[in-house]
Symmetry: C2
Subunit: 466 residues, 2 copies
């Protein structure tokens, strides 16, 4: 990289916060997406909004690809510097600015770890419900970029449902607040929601105002083993139709659990031989007696299917073990084999059709898949396992299978990604979900925000379109 | 209007659905915004998406201003044909297409009356919570255009929180579905949310997929009279801080209630002399015993303020009377005097400061105001009463006062409109909420969607900017 540019960047962030050594570049060149590595040429760590704005002005002056980088827990390669250039690490934006107990809001910088934020507001009796599986390490800013969901989305919604207002540095270096700190807003176009889920391509978020709820005091957790995986999927919509909105409703295929029990010590969960899948079901609220009633209603629903004995987790220890198992699935699968993860989402009643279709497509193209996910909102993570597939088949057959899986999801009125984003790895499937007119509209929006295409180029839009 | 254009339109919709007579034009030239009248040159009533697309192609060919028109209940003049041209009435889009009980969704055309939709899904045990005061006559499509709220938004959210997917005819005549029928979606830019609240300037919505909830079975309604209006505002955030989320929390100033009791017969509500304001508070849920507990917690909170005797409405008749009173306030105020209504919104704890500021600004510029609204979400409707003000002062002083009111709301981290939209009457205050860069960004988005500026021109953006 041109020394003039490096000097300009150093003048902005100071010499302690600019890195060109290989180790640092490599660290900031990967996330949790497969085994991809795309290091930036230089890593900068700005301290405040104005520094981010100055960096983006440099990016525009020299037309350099510039990628915002969070905690690198992403699953679609959204934060990878695929054309090198400048990587802007947001890690120094790690302060919670204000917990507003009067208005039930929190104002935070984007580099705060989601769980840290959740715990800080919980100490004040407040609740930030969005809990992606990576919440122990991901940044809240990354959650905004990808519109992250998690296990509680079926009752509480996803990231977008909590974002009131954003301070954003536009790719040109201009700074705006997208909205207002209000629950209602009908004032101009909703740039707040345009920014959420735009995967760091329309601006860099530097402050975030989130809505909070009062903390719920109690919950009940059930683990229901099903003899047939498709019946587990069928039970999902049956529970909602009974008038209950659980706070979590997770689906886990047998293999995922088996691998996790081997991968994580001391989980102490027993799975019988003929069980194909589990549902992990939580209800929450302020009144324990009501939760017990709801748990019984849920039992009455699931007992209409072929199930094994239901586990009621009544101690915190048991609950934590079950959640730890659920949250470890991805890592366990990853440890087991090379894999690709697809983040399919459909209306929840279509889940059995989706699961059945995925298995058929796998048979057709010769791959095994392990599925788990947030079944309550129709969000199924499909892990395609390399296992002992040949490298050739992995490269040629699997993409065809993935394309068919996405065609299936879209045919079921679903879409490509529920909560991981499109990023790098799904971008060439976008034509399945969107017409040419629609994609061009989105690309023209990108061009308005980022006339020189400096901010996170090469993401979201299919090759040849970015 | 050029006969060639009229013929082209007639060929699209058929001679029975095109109108150029003065009476029809006049009817479609006003809504509920003050006494404004801006008739289109021609009214067309298309029957389906393809006809809307064809009309917009004509609009582009001849560069004719074209305004989508719903039920004309709007309060910001958003559906007025301020440059004449083509008025597209959406009234024939009046079918509910499918109530999907498996996925808790409804697909509807935009010309369905909101209350009709609510009742149709309620018959299946489902709940569409958004209830603007005009729900007995407004269209669900208009609710999308303005991102309508209503009394239940504090617990259940506003229109945008229920919209999953939209079929939209773009101003160019292209047709897209904006998203997918899923609860989670991280697939490309969120054009669904860009469309919601864009006031018919970015496209014409022709099909709508909404999320539904299971119907709540019970509710409790309280009417709390306060001796001091500002204390009523203070009580609002105190209730939330006690950990309760009411399903409605409405603020009504004394004058509004007095005028309504005169305007509507048989309401049978008694108001003592020294009461300045009321809160109407509802909690809902499935368990009556829990609701009674919550009502008692609310009582404990409001009793910390100077209040008169609280009315518990236990019969359906009493509840309906109280809601009828609340929903009649706007009409009663309107019947009383020429007025202007502003739709201010702030974080809810700032309400007392907002109310106090509005009264001070009124004194300064010589106008009386009557305030009521959805206090639970900080949304206060400010009715500025002409009364015996001179026409001169009405024209010159009131706009200055309104500007100060909006400066106050923005200073309190609120904004111009909570649920009515900017439309025509608020557009020249947009500079208070948005920087030049921000407004230009929105205008450039408009230009991408609508390169010839044919669709609903003259709305949202300040004069000189559209």
């Amino acid at each position: 990289m041109n020394p003039e540019i490096l000097l300009a960047l150093e003048n902005i962030v100071g010499s302690a916060y600019i890195f060109t050594d290989e180790a640092t570049r490599k660290t900031y060149g990967h996330d949790e997406t497969e085994d991809l590595s795309f290091p930036p040429h230089v890593v900068v760590k700005p301290a405040n909004t104005e520094e981010v704005a100055q960096i983006l002005r440099v990016s525009n002056t020299y037309k350099i690809p510039t990628t915002p980088i969070g905690a690198r827990t992403g699953l679609s390669g959204g934060a990878l510097s695929i054309y090198g250039g400048i990587g802007i690490s947001m890690e120094r934006f790690n302060q919670i600015i204000e917990i507003d107990e009067q208005n039930l809001q929190v104002t935070t910088q984007p580099g705060v770890i989601t769980q840290v934020l959740r715990e800080a507001v919980a100490e004040k009796g407040l609740f930030y419900p969005v809990d992606p599986s990576s919440m122990g390490s991901c940044f809240i800013g990354g959650n905004i970029a990808e519109n992250s969901g998690g296990a509680r989305a079926l009752k509480y919604g996803v990231t977008k449902d909590y974002v009131l207002n954003l301070e954003v540095v536009l790719p040109t270096g201009d700074i705006i607040w997208t909205g207002a700190n209000t629950l209602k807003n009908s004032t101009g176009y909703n740039l707040t929601q345009l920014m959420v889920g735009s995967e760091g391509t329309l601006g860099i978020v530097t402050k975030i105002v989130l809505k909070l709820l009062p903390q719920n005091k109690h919950n009940v957790l059930l683990l229901v083993p099903f003899y047939k995986a498709e019946q587990a999927c069928e039970a999902v919509s049956a529970i909602f139709r009974a008038g209950i909105i659980p706070s979590a409703l997770e689906f886990m295929e047998r293999d995922a659990i088996d691998w996790t029990l081997k991968f994580v010590d001391g989980l102490n969960v027993e799975v019988k031989d003929n069980v194909q899948a589990h549902l992990l079901i939580e209800v929450d609220g302020n009144y324990p007696e009501i939760l017990m009633q709801e748990a019984e209603q849920i039992l009455a629903v699931v007992e209409q299917f072929e199930i094994d004995e239901v586990l009621f987790a009544d101690t915190e220890e048991q609950k934590n073990a079950l959640w730890k198992m659920r949250r470890s699935l991805a890592e366990a699968v990853k440890a087991n084999s090379i894999y690709k993860e697809e983040d399919t989402v459909v209306p929840r009643y279509e889940l059995p059709k989706l699961l059945k279709g995925i298995k058929e497509i796998g048979s057709k193209y010769g791959f095994q898949s392990v599925c788990y996910g947030h079944a309550g909102d129709g969000n199924l993570h499909v892990n395609i396992i390399k296992g002992n597939m040949t490298d050739d088949n992995w490269k040629t057959e699997v993409p065809k299978g993935i394309r068919e899986i996405f065609e299936l999801t879209v045919g079921l009125k679903g879409t490509l990604s529920g909560e991981h984003g499109i990023g790098l790895v799904q971008k060439n499937y976008m034509d399945i979900a969107f017409s040419k007119v629609h994609l061009e509209l989105m690309e023209r929006i990108k061009a308005i925000f980022d006339p020189n295409n400096v901010l996170n180029p090469g993401k979201i839009f299919p090759d040849g379109n970015d």
